[in-house]
Symmetry: C2
Subunit: 393 residues, 2 copies
Amino acid sequence: MSDGTGPVTGSVQRAGAEWLQYDYASTRLVDDEPRPVTMWRYRALLPVGEGPVRYPLPIGGTPLLPSPALRASLGMPGLWLKDETRGPSASNKDRATALVIEGGLRGGVDTITTASTGNAAISTAFGAAAAGLRAAIFVSTGCRPDKLALMAQAGAWVFRVSAGYAAAVDLSRTAARAFGWLDRNTGANPVTVEAKKTVAFEVWEQLGRRPPDAMVAPVGDGPTLAALDKGFDELVRCGVADRRPRLIGVQADRCQPLVQAWRGGVAGPAQLDPAGTVADGIAVLRPAIGDAVLAAVGRDGGGMVAVDDEALLRAVDALAARAGVGAEPAGAAALAGLHRALEVGLVHRDENVVLLVTGRELKAAGGPGDGRRVRTVDRLDEVEKALADGNDG
Amino acid sequence: MSDGTGPVTGSVQRAGAEWLQYDYASTRLVDDEPRPVTMWRYRALLPVGEGPVRYPLPIGGTPLLPSPALRASLGMPGLWLKDETRGPSASNKDRATALVIEGGLRGGVDTITTASTGNAAISTAFGAAAAGLRAAIFVSTGCRPDKLALMAQAGAWVFRVSAGYAAAVDLSRTAARAFGWLDRNTGANPVTVEAKKTVAFEVWEQLGRRPPDAMVAPVGDGPTLAALDKGFDELVRCGVADRRPRLIGVQADRCQPLVQAWRGGVAGPAQLDPAGTVADGIAVLRPAIGDAVLAAVGRDGGGMVAVDDEALLRAVDALAARAGVGAEPAGAAALAGLHRALEVGLVHRDENVVLLVTGRELKAAGGPGDGRRVRTVDRLDEVEKALADGNDG
């Protein structure tokens, strides 16, 4: 992905991850050309070459909501919600899915793969369906049946790996290398961060080309927050912003490896129980780009906070009842984290603060989907055989 | 609502409903002014006065998707999906909710009411929450618990009426008159049609300022299709389109009063069983503005078709697997109906055809919500007492 695609000039290794580089200039973000109201608005800073965008679903351009009732209840006149639930699969994963698939369509790849237990898998399944690609999703055998149903409904191949989630990640990445598939795995593909950084660009533009004072976001594997860091950093490099916001990451108290690392400690067993929290979307034991997250919150006075399930559920209800925004617990974590951040002085009530609402849950409302494409596997040859036998089955 | 709000010049009674009138001219839709990419883009043809829009959630501006895989599978290169699932409560009801509430905010009203068993109620609950209004929703005691949970989560008052849905409608409308509440009930308020007609304006503009040859839409109470009729009609009156598309309405075979009426017959008991179909969102025994629907499809060679549950569920799966669009069965009815319309010659494969995907189901992902605001009532004084006792409880 550092092959100079489009405006990309190269890449650097930083905090354990690969970061694409560009020639930064204000004209990359501000000029007199008409721009679409989607993620592609920012393609001068995305790894996409010339020519029309092939990905068929509009992505990005999500609302930045003032939410007057929520502002009043919190006494925060400068509070904003960046509502990422408006995407085609109702989460910010849709940005990464779109940009990865756009590259694949240009490269003539026919299959995309990822391991995921949740929104990334569903986003990949729906995005691949829209683009006419095959999706090969790897999950642990513990994956929730309602999530499996959504993936199957979108026509994805779903491989349940009995050895668990880490093995599912390994198998997905091995398959990508062996078969030449698109690898959408978080941490493996810097394009996911490139896509999600457009959230920072949109917030800056929606605030009248100014960064907020602080932005709060849920943290699981890390790309969402790391991408905000890169996006706001690029605004400064382009000379269109004079500073970056403080970034505050939120984890569930039952699975808070990065909050503990931020405090200089090591998380104990009770703080590393992904199944123990309602925020399954951010319950990640070993965050793929955790070091990048710690570096990001370490700049400019940000930090990490943990919230309990009760606070997460209260945040879901408050977003619905005071802002009219539906979110899942992980998607509402920024609001729960805001309360904690206010308590510890990481943000102040008179500041411009943006909460990133990352997603809400969909319901599989159709028929049973194509169960023939859901298989339990342990090895690569089983994957290969299933695909060969069931080709267009 | 015929009080000349904004550009409205009056209203006429037609096919059993009230229709707002305007001074039609091309400048109402085409000029050099920058316009927002939302429903308010068309405010020169909406009952909204001067000044900034107060409703805080962006509404409308939903995608018109080419869906290449779906086109290929159907052999229809001119097929489009108008994806209304991107609204804040994931259905086209959000347009009507927004326009009704905008009027209420300008009039200083503090409560909005509607009777509904589904998407309109959820949309009203979330929209009211966003705008800081109180919502009073009337449902039958048979209302699905997951839908009740969503309304309660958004902080709405939910009144369960044991005498059934028709009694719930009566009580909602009586309460609106008695207490001066905003009445969002379909058929009672011409503003709901005004809001939904913006779908026709958007389709026209997204097709390069041309109407499609045909448009297919689900039909329950009728406003969605009647609004398409009014919108496309206004485009012709404004002189920016030279014809209207054929309109094709879709009902479930288990609840098809308007399909039977269209054929000149009377629906039998097996065709009037709202509980008998998976398409609960369009299963309406006595459509509120059915005559307007029949008049609309009767123009320009359109028609009504019925589809069975199996076809509806296949359509849900096909939208997911071939277009990457999640829909509920009622929301996918246009695709199911397209197959039938092709069979009977109402549309042809070489035409420009737009399918209206009206909505998808949300999941109540949070806590139990505020159960104290869910009450079972039969009379208006019980409603009044509940609200007085439970004020901000």
